[in-house]
């Protein structure tokens, strides 16, 4: 059914149709609307025999799900930012134990300075914890990815994060097609655990593993991720046959035919980049873009294939490896090892800064002219930076950075751009 709906509400609606049996969550912006809606639906008995466990923290939320998943339940949670970091130990455990938990990350910056807005710092911090990480371009894809995520997680017995940009998607109202429960059921079979805490057939889960076998267990986790690289295209193809639309996948090209420059990104900024690509193509600039839909495992082979014939790559990413630069860029560079083409890192949209079409356009033009500094920070206010650096050179007790920057910029309340 086609509806105009807020992203979070749509995710909650589709989650209900995925028939989770245990949901445990702790509210944090911008994830809150999803779990609020789900708690209402559980309370009204709209999700079968699903239990919603109110917990005291994110660490508890995921710990509850680890137990529930090990006892055979389909499990779900959602979080953001410090919430994800607070559950970090359990995040590693869920993956290490091979439990197919699905978690929505409503992507948000990580403090300090405290910031509730969107970037990818949170899920990036846990990119190597062993979870599969899928990124949604728009709300239709966000709901579709949740359906796929349960099937993928359960097929591999590996947890999956569905990452959707906080506010930009979670709080955006846009048209979505919500498939009905029967349709979802036909794509997503009931959960068949590969390991189960069953009093009638007792096993223990969570053995201590020493130096003699730890690498082997870890290797098998890596092996599962490599299997995911084969399975994801199969699942998205089956999804397309079943729901009659393309959604998800490892990476998706847009106007890459004859493209000299490829702009690579993840998440909702892809929409804005597509508009920019159209505009530049009209001006005969041969640019295309590639959406990375699956960030972990990283689809190197597929990406390498898509980048054949390209002579310049620009990676636009909403994160920063302090002291290094780009994170996605590093994966892209590894993908292109052996090929001598420039890979530009563009750090954009940190802490929710709007990524404008005009800034993207200008950045691409500058990249073509070899005028980008590396890494390039989109729309960085250099005057403020230089002032603050000078001040810190001159005064030993210079005080906190964030407060001084705010004072310099006179940022109060709402600013338009």
């Amino acid at each position: 059914m086609n509806v105009q709906m807020e992203g979070s509400q749509a995710v909650a609606e589709i989650l209900a149709r995925c028939r989770p049996e245990v949901i445990a969550a702790y509210p944090i912006s911008p994830q809150t609307h999803i779990v609020e809606r789900l708690s209402v639906k559980v309370a009204r008995g709209e999700i079968g025999r699903c239990q919603f466990v109110n917990v005291e923290s994110e660490f508890a939320a995921l710990s509850v799900l680890i137990g529930a998943s090990a006892s055979g339940a389909r499990t779900y949670t959602a979080t953001s930012s410090q919430g994800l970091l607070f559950m970090a130990e359990a995040v590693y455990n869920a993956a290490g134990l091979g439990l197919p938990i699905v978690m929505t990350i409503a992507n948000r910056a990580v403090g300090a300075p405290i910031n509730i807005w969107n970037d990818h710092s949170d899920s990036m911090a846990l990119r190597d914890a062993g979870w599969i990480q899928l990124f949604a371009e728009h709300n239709q894809e966000a709901i579709d990815l949740h359906i796929q995520a349960f099937r993928l997680a359960e097929a591999l017995s590996c947890p999956v994060m569905v990452c959707m940009d906080g506010y930009v998607l979670t709080h955006a109202s846009e048209p979505v097609d919500l498939p009905d429960a029967a349709h979802v059921d036909a794509y997503l079979p009931p959960y068949q655990p590969v390991q189960l805490l069953d009093p009638n057939d007792p096993v223990s889960i969570g053995a201590m593993v020493g130096p003699d076998a730890f690498a082997e267990v870890k290797y098998l986790a890596h092996h599962q991720h490599l299997r995911a690289l084969d399975l994801i295209p199969e699942l998205t193809q089956a999804f397309e046959q079943h729901f009659h639309r393309q959604s998800g996948g490892l990476c998706s090209p847009y106007r890459m035919e004859g493209a000299d420059i490829a702009v690579i990104a993840m998440g909702s900024v892809i929409g804005t980049i597509k508009d920019v690509v159209d505009e530049l193509r009209r001006a005969s600039i041969p640019v295309g873009c590639i959406k990375i839909g699956c960030y972990r495992p990283f689809p190197m082979l597929r990406l390498r294939g898509l980048l054949e014939g390209v002579s310049r790559v620009i990676v636009v990413e909403k994160d920063l490896a302090v002291g290094v630069g780009g994170i996605v860029s590093a994966d892209v560079q590894l993908t292109l090892s052996g090929r001598q083409i420039p890979v530009h890192t563009v750090i954009a949209g940190l802490g929710g800064r709007s990524i404008s079409t005009s800034s993207l356009k200008q950045m691409i033009v500058e990249a073509r002219a070899e005028r980008l500094t590396e890494p390039y920070f989109l729309d960085l206010n250099k005057t403020v930076i230089e002032q603050e650096l000078a001040r810190r050179r001159d005064i030993r007790r210079a005080g906190p950075v964030a407060e001084h920057i705010l004072r310099t910029m006179n940022v109060m309340g709402t600013k338009v751009s």
């Binding site: 105009q4 506010y167 955006a172 109202s173 709402t414």
Partner: protein
Amino acid sequence: MWQVRFHGRGGQGVVTAAELLALAAFRDGKYAQAFPSFGSERMGAPVMAFCRIDDTTIRTRDTVTCPDVVIVQDATLLHQVDLFAGLTPCGFVLINSTRSLNVLHLEEFLSILPVGHVCAFPASDLGLKYLKRPLANAPLLGGFAALTGLIRLASVESAIRQRFPGEIGEANVASVREAYDHVTTLTAEQQGILRR
């Protein structure tokens, strides 16, 4: 594509207004995207919300910096926040105020816009009349339909009924209708004056 920017304060239903406009446009068979730009969520803090309306899928996600329509839900923001930044030359402005544009010191400033594109009317009073609360967001949507002709009044009404079924929805719909008539009359008068 039409781009609308709502300005108000936390607690005045600014985000809801943008969502209702998107829903109304959807009911008109258009593509719509609505999203907020929160500061830290506090009652009374300046808030913005955005709505884009088009005949095709909307992909861009950047904030609306060049709006075709600016809706001001709280006149105390005038001269505080840069409300009209980037407004397109043929744009529309709708202000919730009991005062005229002249008294608000906006007449000269907004005279660059086409006649009949600017309107100030007491939307909060309509909220008080029908909802017993000074809620201006629904009446402003009625005003929006009258001022721009971009969405049908019936679609605004059905969007409100879908979001707020029952008595509250009906009271909102009544406020929307009066706002629609009020703004239709006001803009007709403005254009009439010019013709004379």
